[in-house]
């Protein structure tokens, strides 16, 4: 069953007065429980593709469908709802709100959504699994890079979303932290969440159920 897919997705940017395709005619299918890794050189269009899948940028042509809904045509309110509940994005770099504690950061999507009560037990369980239980009342400025990453992941997975999209989540992490993070992704994909991870690190490819390669805006299956 397809959760998220794109058809003939094209995104153009301008460089030195010339337009070029940062994402060129991309078809991607993301199914339930899948663990997809996208690799590719820097500048090949990976981040742009993720932004398109989240509706954060509008494509020049092509469509993105989520659960049958066309992301490029629905209104901002509905799209925000989807991002709040269904498709979680872990952007490149740190994305914690500095004025909130770790606990508040992790539960913040519930504050925005305003529908469900924050799951206190799941928070503890998750924090334990991610090794950040003792950090819950600490502010992000006191955290290391690996800890921040894990908090961001906790924030993304806490409500067991349909899809998780992560842009170089292990970019600046050591080997130990990298495998910890990949293990967590593996686990949640086992629970039915579709996971898409962009990475440079070839040693992580084994975690994936499918590996894709991006080059000059084009996406193709990786031949290994």
């Amino acid at each position: 069953m397809k959760y998220l897919c794109s058809e003939k997705l094209v995104k153009e940017y301008e460089r030195r007065g010339k337009t070029f395709r940062a994402v060129d005619d991309v078809d991607i299918q993301i199914n339930k429980g899948e663990f997809i890794i996208i690799t590719g050189e820097s500048g090949s269009g990976k981040t742009t593709l993720l932004n398109l899948l989240l509706g954060l940028t509008k494509p020049e042509s092509g469509t993105v469908l989520f659960d049958g809904e066309d992301i490029s045509t629905i209104d901002d309110k509905r799209l925000s709802e989807i991002r709040n509940e269904k498709i979680k994005y872990i952007p490149q770099g740190d994305s914690l709100l500095t004025s909130l504690t770790v606990r508040e950061n992790i539960l913040f999507p519930y504050v925005i959504g305003g529908k469900e009560e924050p799951p206190k037990e799941r928070l503890i369980e998750l924090a334990e699994k991610l090794g950040i239980k003792d950090l819950l009342d600490v502010y992000p400025s006191e955290l290391s890079g690996g800890e921040m990453r894990r908090v961001t992941i906790a924030r993304a997975v806490i409500n067991k979303p349909a899809v998780i999209i992560a842009d170089e989540p292990t970019g600046n992490l050591d080997r130990d932290n990298t495998s910890k993070v990949m293990e967590i992704f593996k686990d949640i994909s086992g629970e039915g969440t579709a996971v898409v991870v962009v990475t440079h690190q070839r040693e992580t490819l084994d975690y994936a159920s499918k590996v894709l390669n991006m080059s000059h805006g084009r996406l193709a299956p990786e031949n290994r």
Partner: protein, 377 residues
């Protein structure tokens, strides 16, 4: 916040000043009962001082001037007054203008009496201007003798607010006391022979220049002050003060608005990343705009209130100072009007800062790059 403060401060102080100037002008116009004032040729400036600044002056001329007015066509009524001064040590905290008037012919003072304490201005009692403070026992004291107060005038925004009015008899007593103490104005024995000014009201459509010519022919060493001209001169002066206030007000308001826009664009630019995070976590752009609008509102209200407070602290304590330094009639607007000005000032700043925050958020949310987290770049 500071910008909002400046904005509401400027608005409040500016509008109070403008309002009070207009108020003063209208009041003065209302109160100018006479059309013409005859004064000694050499004392024109002194006479203007009495009217405009309340600076006490002393001058006189022969009473024959008053007599010269008989059977001049166009003179509806005329009355004479005599001006001299008190000592600052007497009472009322400063030297005041003492004015003897003639209750029988008077047409300028009587209509201003605001608060009548006794029915008649008895021999020995006086009428005080609105700014004159009597002694604790309710009397006033000049050259050692005390005089009961028979009434008080309403505010006129002119120098006459600092004057004390009396009959010729009382004047005679004061002059005698003064002489005893070594202050010689005119010899009290001859005081019936002098006046300082003759005030004239002309009949409607009378030819003022013609009347002046006729009087010039009968009396020498005199000068006319036309109240219409006086008010006109003041209007011109007032106009320039008013323009100055307008320019200052505009500059400050524009400055405050521009600063607010800059301020909000800077803080929102700094929070670009924060906005992007909120978008990714599923906050809708309308919600983000709304929360920054609220923020602008709060900042505007806080700054506006602070500005209003600063304005109140300027306008009220320095009321006198402003009045004296402006050299045009200034009379504080009534309190409800002042309150209205204050509310207006705060409202405008709140509007400004909300608008500024809203505009800067809007400009950000239109930029596509603002949504796309390109961290590290």
């Amino acid at each position: 916040m500071l910008a909002a403060l400046i904005g509401s401060y400027a608005l409040f102080v500016g509008s109070v000043l403008k309002g009070s100037l207009n108020n003063g002008m209208t009041r003065m116009q209302e109160r100018m009962g006479a059309d013409l004032m005859i004064v000694p040729e050499s004392s024109e400036v002194k006479a203007r001082n009495i009217l405009l600044t309340g600076e006490p002056e002393f001058f006189y001329m022969d009473i024959s001037v008053a007599q010269a007015l008989h059977d001049i066509e166009g003179v509806e009524c005329a009355t004479s007054q005599f001006y001299f001064t008190s000592l600052s040590s007497d009472c009322c905290s400063t030297r005041v203008q003492l004015i003897a008037y003639d209750p029988d012919t008077d047409f300028v003072i009587d209509p201003w009496i605001d608060e009548r304490i006794t029915d008649e201005v008895e021999k020995g009692s006086v009428i005080i201007g609105s700014e004159v403070t009597p002694l604790p026992d309710g009397k006033v004291k000049f050259y050692g003798s005390e005089y009961p107060v028979a009434g008080k005038l309403g505010e006129t925004a002119t120098g006459l607010d600092h004057s004390v009015f009396m009959t010729r008899d009382t004047m005679h007593e004061i002059l005698s006391d003064a002489k005893e103490k070594g202050y010689q104005f005119i010899n009290p024995e001859d005081d019936g022979a002098f006046v300082s000014t003759v005030l004239i009201r002309v009949s409607e459509n009378a030819d003022i220049t013609g009347i002046e010519k006729e009087i010039y022919g009968k009396a020498e060493g005199i000068k006319f002050i036309e109240t219409d001209k006086l008010i006109n001169d003041l209007s011109v002066k007032l106009g320039s003060v008013d323009r100055l206030i307008n320019v200052t007000l505009t500059v400050l308001l524009v400055f405050s608005f521009v600063t607010m826009i800059l301020f909000f664009s800077v803080i929102f630019h700094e929070r670009k990343k924060e906005f992007a995070i909120l978008r990714i976590l599923g906050m809708s752009s309308s919600k983000i705009c709304f929360s920054s609008l609220t923020e602008g509102l709060i900042i505007g209200a806080a700054g506006g209130a602070a500005g209003l407070l600063a304005g109140i602290l300027t306008v009220f304590p320095f009321n006198r100072l402003i009045e004296n330094s402006l050299d045009v009639p200034y009379l504080m607007s009534p309190l409800p009007v002042v309150i209205l000005y204050g509310l207006l000032g705060v409202a405008v700043t709140v509007l400004f800062s909300s608008l500024a925050s809203f505009l800067s958020t809007l400009s950000l949310s239109h930029a596509e790059t603002y949504y796309t987290m390109r961290a590290g770049e």
